[in-house]
């Protein structure tokens, strides 16, 4: 081998080993996984690396793929948790409904020993409480959290109980333990959040808004309007005044669960497809991934502490005391779909798909 050949080989070898990103070294922590359960928090676990004495955990709301890991702080919400000595970590104080990127790096003697190739993503979400902040005696309801066996009743536990005790911190506001924020038509946070809806209102005055963000579940919900007239025929392909509170639809349009499945059962009607497509085309509140919610998602905004309607009406005005369709089919009745009755909050299965029913969109 000539001297030059040896030099080139040596240079190439140096290059290869210094750019560790080209392949996964054996000492990169593997099986990085996230447990998403828990309000505003994510728990990460990974396989320990033999010989490593510490781990550095990086996270951000953008991918690390295009940067040198040392420049993590240039990424949105880029954060480094240094010198962890366990192979699990719970990160708190995250924003529900936002996707986070995580990388764990193994270290030995305070030098970087592995690469960022184990990047994973996870989105923290919380679970809404019921909204019940009062107790019950066998003869009736009380106005406060008192009653027989009260320590075991609904009002003594969860976010609602912390709201009563004054120990609950919220991003926005809302009845009992609920935490909502109003968004304008382009996704802007409404500057004035505490005004009631007005038929001839404006976003500037805080009296009209397009959507509500649930700060616990991370879901963003369509708000219904009372302006103009309802579209009295949603079965044709021309859907007008799509957000009107009195528009009703047969079940099964775009985003209905199972719609594309070869073994689907029962009928799927396209009535609400105009609502989904129209909301996406207009980028309602800045989003183009609108869909009909599952029955569980629909139940998340039911306020069981009130009725007629069973929802926080300050944030969700123009909520008719009626049923709303979910995207969920019923497993034992092929012609039915789950719907939620917002008069009191019970989840029927008896919603025949042919029966025109209200719909409120959600995303993501």
């Amino acid at each position: 081998m000539s001297f030059f050949k040896a030099l080139i080989l040596a240079l190439l070898t140096t290059l290869l080993f210094s750019c560790g990103d080209g392949s996964t070294p054996a000492n990169t922590p593997t099986n990085l996984a996230a447990v998403t359960g828990g309000d505003s928090q994510i728990t990460l676990t990974w396989n320990g690396v033999s010989g490593a004495d510490k781990y550095d955990l990086y996270y951000a709301t953008e991918t690390f793929a295009n940067i040198d890991i040392a420049n993590y702080s240039a990424l949105a919400d880029g954060t480094l948790l240094m010198n962890l000595t366990t192979n699990h970590k719970t990160i708190t104080g995250l924003t529900n409904g936002i996707q986070y990127y995580f990388v764990v790096v193994a270290k030995k003697d305070n030098s970087l020993e592995s690469t960022k190739l184990n990047e994973i993503t996870a989105t923290p979400t919380g679970m809404n409480d019921t909204g019940i902040s009062w107790g019950n005696d066998s003869f009736g309801n009380n106005t406060t959290c008192i009653g027989e066996n009260i320590a075991a009743q609904d009002c003594s536990h969860g976010r609602d109980a912390r709201a009563i005790a004054g120990t609950l911190t919220k991003t926005g506001a809302g009845a009992a333990g609920f935490d909502f924020t109003k968004l304008g038509a382009t996704g802007n946070l409404l500057a004035v959040q505490n005004q009631p809806w007005a038929l001839a209102g404006t976003e500037a005055a805080g009296t009209q808004w397009g959507c509500v963000k649930d700060n616990i579940t991370g879901l963003v919900w369509e708000v219904k309007t009372d302006a103009g007239l309802a579209d009295n025929d949603t079965t044709d392909s021309n859907h007008t005044n799509i957000h009107h509170k009195d528009n009703t639809y047969r079940w099964g349009g775009k985003t209905a669960l199972g719609k594309a499945h070869a073994d689907k059962q029962g009928s799927y009607y396209d009535d609400w497809t105009g609502l989904v497509d129209g909301s996406n085309a207009a980028a309602l509140c800045g989003f183009n991934n609108w869909r009909v919610p599952t029955i569980g998602e629909l139940r998340s905004i039911v306020h069981y502490g009130v009725h007629h309607p069973a929802i926080d009406t300050h944030y969700f005005p123009n909520t008719t005391v009626d049923n709303f369709f979910s995207s969920s089919p019923v497993s034992d009745l092929a012609d039915n779909a789950w719907k939620m009755d917002f008069s009191s909050g019970y989840g029927y299965s008896s919603g025949n798909r042919t029966q025109s029913t209200r719909v409120r969109l959600v995303r993501p």
């Binding site: 447990v35 998403t36 359960g37 828990g38 309000d39 979400t125 679970m127 809404n128 409480d129 019921t130 019940i132 009062w134 107790g135 019950n136 066998s138 003869f139 009736g140 309801n141 027989e148 066996n149 320590a151 075991a152 009743q153 609904d154 536990h157 969860g158 669960l257 199972g258 499945h261 070869a262 073994d263 689907k264 059962q265 599952t294 029955i295 569980g296 139940r299 998340s300 039911v302 069981y304 502490g305 009130v306 009725h307 007629h308 069973a310 969920s328 089919p329 019923v330 497993s331 034992d332 789950w338 008069s343 009191s344 909050g345 019970y346 989840g347 029927y348 299965s349």
Partner: protein, 170 residues
């Protein structure tokens, strides 16, 4: 002969246990991977961050084969609330779930029963009480979920239903 008898017994048992019907066109958001079996009669739901008893009240947890034996006890609402604070798996903060917590166990792609039977074995396809009273009249009711197919509605406190307890994850 002995094997034949054993086989027919097995078939008989499986015939009773596997009455559940699941449809593959409805998405299953309640697969085994969502839950952590703590192997002490409790299960952690990693989506809701709740810890559930695998057995209904009245049933006995059998750790050797991870199942629930015996019949679930039916009780009225005050008796169900009274189950809170009982000791199990080294914890005493067990309580009746609220209506949203109870509903989060409902598997929408299956019925009879509408629950993950691997992690909640031998669950009766029956009515379970929640801790949530009812805002609309009559205020002598409590919310409940029917685990035959997942319907939720309210009925009298004085009626007797089955109970599954829950506690928060630390």
């Amino acid at each position: 002969m002995k094997i034949k008898f054993l086989l027919s017994t097995l078939l008989l048992i499986s015939g009773i246990v596997s009455a559940q019907t699941c449809l593959d066109y409805i998405p299953n958001e309640w697969q085994d991977s969502r839950y952590i079996n703590n192997h002490n009669g409790t299960v952690t739901d990693t989506i809701t961050n709740l810890i559930w008893k695998q057995c209904s009240e009245g049933q006995t947890y059998s750790s050797s084969d991870n199942t629930c034996t015996g019949s679930a006890t039916k009780m009225n609402w005050q008796e169900a609330l009274g189950k809170a604070g009982t000791s199990f798996a080294g914890k005493t903060d067990w309580r009746l779930p609220n209506i949203k917590e109870l509903d989060s166990l409902v598997v929408r792609n299956c019925h009879n029963p509408s629950i993950n039977e691997t992690l909640f074995p031998n669950t009766p396809a029956y009515v379970f009480f929640s801790s949530s009273p009812v805002s609309s009249t009559p205020s002598t009711d409590a919310w409940r979920v029917i685990f035959f197919y997942g319907y939720s509605y309210y009925r009298y406190h004085s009626n007797s239903y089955t109970v599954r307890l829950v506690r928060p994850r630390e």
